[in-house]
Symmetry: C2
Subunit: 255 residues, 2 copies
């Protein structure tokens, strides 16, 4: 029987620690193709590259049996698109993205390049999972999460996901997980987002920073609550962003 084919990408770049851990773990489940940005693309969301050509470079130095690796000059979404059309020997059975250095819980999913790639994979009809770790470190210990990463991927390979649904998995930085929970995306927003950047030319220049404001800190069913309490969160994400509940409110606009 043909091996499972797993496509891996991320938004921290092909050389990040998180993607090397994820690659090692996925090689226990099948054949792996990595197509990842050639450098960090944090905050890339589901951006695509419209104004320049995208290059693809084989990284034979990072390869081994059952593993092909490519660095791409584009965004995480570009990586998935180009992998599917130009690299993968057949339709992948699974797409995984990450493991991101930094969580993508609550509203951060909207900014996340990790999840942009996952949404793209889902749009192409392939079961797709994003993994993120709430950490600020470039080098961290992923061992407390490895078993769950493999377990979730195996489950999805075996049972699939609903049509047009993908997974957003987040881990807290802990020595031992309190457990794994299925969560909804919590309500929140970033505040106090800019600091003035000193510069020699008198321009108005600012660095994006900010503080996350949890708008429902006492709800125990959100991804953010799970992370705050030592649990990993598994949030099913749908492609369809329609708010069906608002249709009635908008009827006066129909002409």
């Amino acid at each position: 029987m043909e091996q499972k084919l797993i496509l891996i990408t991320n938004d921290d770049g092909v050389s990040a620690q998180g993607i090397s851990v994820l690659t090692r773990l996925m090689l226990t489940l099948g054949e792996v193709v990595v197509v990842a940005p050639d450098s960090a693309r944090s905050g890339a969301a589901a951006a695509i590259t419209c104004t320049q050509a995208v290059t693809l470079r084989r990284r034979a130095d990072m390869e081994q049996d059952h593993l092909q690796v490519y660095a791409c000059s584009g965004s995480p979404v570009d990586c998935v698109k180009i992998a599917l059309e130009q690299v993968c020997p057949r339709h992948p059975d699974l797409i995984v993205s990450g493991i991101n250095h930094g969580d993508n819980a609550s509203c951060s999913i909207h900014y996340s390049g990790t999840m942009g790639a996952v949404i793209e994979g889902c749009m192409k009809g392939i079961p797709s999972i994003g993994y993120s770790l709430r950490t600020l470190k470039h080098k961290c210990d992923f061992t407390p999460y490895e078993e769950q990463v493999v377990r979730i991927a195996s489950f999805v390979l075996q049972h699939g996901l609903s049509q047009d649904t993908c997974l957003n998995v987040n881990f807290p930085e802990v020595e031992r997980l309190a457990g794994m929970r299925v969560c909804r995306m919590g309500r929140g927003r970033w505040v106090q987002e800019w600091i003035s950047a000193n510069n020699p030319r008198g321009m108005n220049a600012y660095w994006l920073t900010g503080r996350f404001l949890n708008l429902e800190p006492h709800s125990d069913d959100t991804d953010y609550w799970a992370l705050d309490h030592g649990y990993g969160s598994i949030t099913p994400i749908r492609l369809d962003m329609t708010d069906y509940n608002s249709f009635a409110h908008l009827v006066p606009l129909v002409v």
Copy 2:
């Protein structure tokens, strides 16, 4: 009584025709602040700028009574974030984005910088609307849509939108609209997305292009169907991307 304050942005850049039309129309409803990218950012989705400082430059040459204009070096989402913290004299009553040159119906909402800005506005608790025109032209005739653009903005200023919901409005390129419909986001995806780019150095280089595949061409309740049939579409979009229907399927992953 204080005038309504309307914040305008886009992803085609501060000099695009669509944003100048939108600005003229919004000035009939209140005071306007424009903070838009200094050049085109098509396909920027909800990307944010993490790796460089963002600059903000006043464009006094584009201003008039009740209108302030700024060009920003960042993404459409950066424009909204910086406008709210660094530019707007008070909390805006409405955020509008566009009018985009090119539609943002169906799955294209995920890639859209126009809608990235709208989602950001919504996240900040401000009623937000994205407008897009299905056209390939840089210069086009917006007159067939002007009445509806103002009508929808007036409605939202007066009645608001549900919490965590924003609007994605698309127009077909027609001499006369068949009408306006409230639609769901149709299912679709882009296919045949890459063409090889000739280059002198033998790299693997590709341009992103593609053809849209409507996965439900016969459903008459989608945004894509509306545009195909000469109608403008109004699609309510929710911030919460959780797929609640998948919770039961994922229960085996809880530990």
